[in-house]
Symmetry: C2
């Protein structure tokens, strides 16, 4: 059976102050009035129903996430006491799924992405599931690059596997420099690593045993079912014990039989304020995208967000302006990644919890 | 006797959103933690005590103004049902003062200015009072220009009057163009019209009778004392009847015997966001002035205000950034006067009352 494993931790720091610790990106209704995490489960439902999904999220926002996911049984929404990146979370989900279904196939999905053609998305996942079952591949969904993005991981696509339409991955490159990203874009042989993965749970646990023995060892102490006695305490100890490591670095870059399904759907990870230009429409006629009450006077190509008040922009171009009750952000679009520096400073001051 | 007449109407639109209809500029604690209106009355107290002052303000904010002015008798704080600019307000004050003191001298003071040398301020007012009494002059306090400001009125200074240190005013120029303002600044013969005036109340009423007969006629129906029966209703009818006209245009520019005392004190009308660079200190070391919680990343020479939250500015120079719970303003310093256009648009939308 195919199970959705939804990664709903973190809070989307680079979208501060729209995104906050208490109302993180995956709960924002960025598109079509629906929280991203709910859209994620709805989108995969034709392939993997919500009732057999596993959702991993931060303990502090677990209740808020659960409130949006009525179709997912409460005990299958797991609150992480500390974030340890993706590999330990996916390993925990695999551990639980194998116990209930030795042939379980996992579809690992970040909770905060936007996908535009949902039928094509399901078709791509179906193909990935076939490859995960037929050749026990570790299958990624790859996105054709549309810009020389330096914040993403890239995969070089190799020859077609024995499953038609599914290719081998020859190499991973994480966050290339600008020139390399340009060459990947021009060359046509690279895809973005979307962070969406499909594999058999047992295959993944074998990889974890081989490549992340600390994780594997810690996992042995976790009961096989969420309803088992002591499960919550065991999960807490597990997260405290394991290292923080991404599945890309910890598993994928070292594994054999890594495959990719080139995506036929529109995709955005809404990774920074600039993504909103792609996700939102221009409502101003002057190249600006606006959400909420905004007043633009001689302002062009801006990204303006106002929640609970008015954002007024006079005589500026190509800037991000965000207003919430608690904060204002002003930043040129070209500096969007430096929103991180603001968040770091606010953590240092204790305004945002570290 | 010398009476303070404090003009505390309006709300400082060009300081939006720091200044709002409900918390207007004259109530802001811009300097030394003291509301500007309270500082105005404290500053003039050595010359004209609060208990004999008259304060004119908007009816909607009358209670808030009164709460800050415990030294001024309640009935002497008059709420204007509609704003009619300065001439009708000053005429009403003169009407009341003449009734209680035929020799009353009025010191007319806007409630929203910043003065830095208070002893020099009182000395200048003293001199102006002497001229108002000795030669029945209409005396202004003139400020030596420090920049080619195009938003102010200018006065050309003539020969010294028979009162030493007090000069005749040869001409008024309201809001000159940039080239004219530059020539006034360079020529050394012009002073800014501060909007602070000193004259005998009876002299002023004579001028009103001659130059603003509509105001004079409407005034005749207003009782002579605030405690008289029907006073409030009469004031309401007065404001509804009179035209909106400034004292500069309606009286000063046409009157004889207009004099000026060149000020020996530091003065600022805090007329726009840019004034805060003069009134506040640079606390960042990068040429920016900041009030409230701000995070500046590669931001230089900015004016940043945060009330009830954080204002974060990344990679911008020479901009005004203001955050309140209800609004964000972002505007280059060079466009500060266009804050008006934002306020106009918000009035049009009904967000701000017209």
């Amino acid at each position: 059976m195919t199970h959705a494993v939804v990664l709903a931790g973190g809070w989307g720091e680079r979208l501060w102050p729209m995104s906050t610790r208490s109302c993180p990106k995956q709960l924002l209704r960025l598109v079509a009035g629906e929280p991203l995490v709910r859209a994620t489960l709805r989108r995969i439902a034709p392939v993997a129903p919500s009732k057999s999904a596993i959702v991993l999220t931060g303990a502090a926002i677990r209740e808020a996430i659960a409130a949006e996911l009525s179709g997912v049984p409460q005990e299958r929404i797991i609150g992480e006491p500390v974030g340890r990146n993706t590999a330990p979370a996916i390993a925990l989900a695999a551990h639980l799924l194998v116990a209930e279904d030795p042939d379980a196939v996992m579809v690992v999905l970040p909770a905060d992405h936007v996908v535009s053609d949902e039928a094509a998305f399901c078709a791509a996942v179906d193909l990935a599931v076939r490859a995960a079952v037929a050749v026990r591949g570790l299958v990624t969904l790859g996105i054709r690059p549309t810009r020389p993005e330096t914040e993403y991981g890239y995969m070089r696509v190799g020859r077609e596997s024995t499953v038609g339409g599914v290719h081998e991955v020859e190499a991973f490159t994480e966050k290339p420099d600008a020139a390399t990203a340009e060459s990947f874009l021009a060359g046509g042989r690279h895809l973005w690593n979307s962070g969406m993965f499909v594999w058999r749970a047992d295959r993944f646990l074998d990889e974890v045993g081989e490549r992340l023995p600390d994780v594997s060892a810690a996992l042995a102490a976790v009961p096989r079912r969420p309803c088992d006695a002591g499960f919550d305490d065991a999960v807490r100890r597990y997260y405290e014990a394991v290292p923080s490591v991404s599945v890309d670095y910890g598993v994928m870059e070292k594994a054999e039989n890594v495959l990719v399904v080139p995506a036929g759907f529109g995709w955005d990870d809404v990774g920074s304020w600039c993504a909103l230009e792609r996700v939102w429409d221009d409502g101003t006629g002057a190249g600006s995208v606006v959400r909420g009450d905004a007043v633009l006077v001689d302002a062009e190509r801006c990204i303006v967000y106002a929640d609970g008040g008015v954002a007024a922009v006079v005589g500026l171009s190509d800037v991000i302006v965000a207003h919430t009750k608690d904060a204002t952000l002003v930043c040129p679009k070209a500096r969007a990644r430096d929103v991180r520096r603001v968040v770091e400073e606010l953590k240092r001051r204790g305004v945002i919890e570290p």
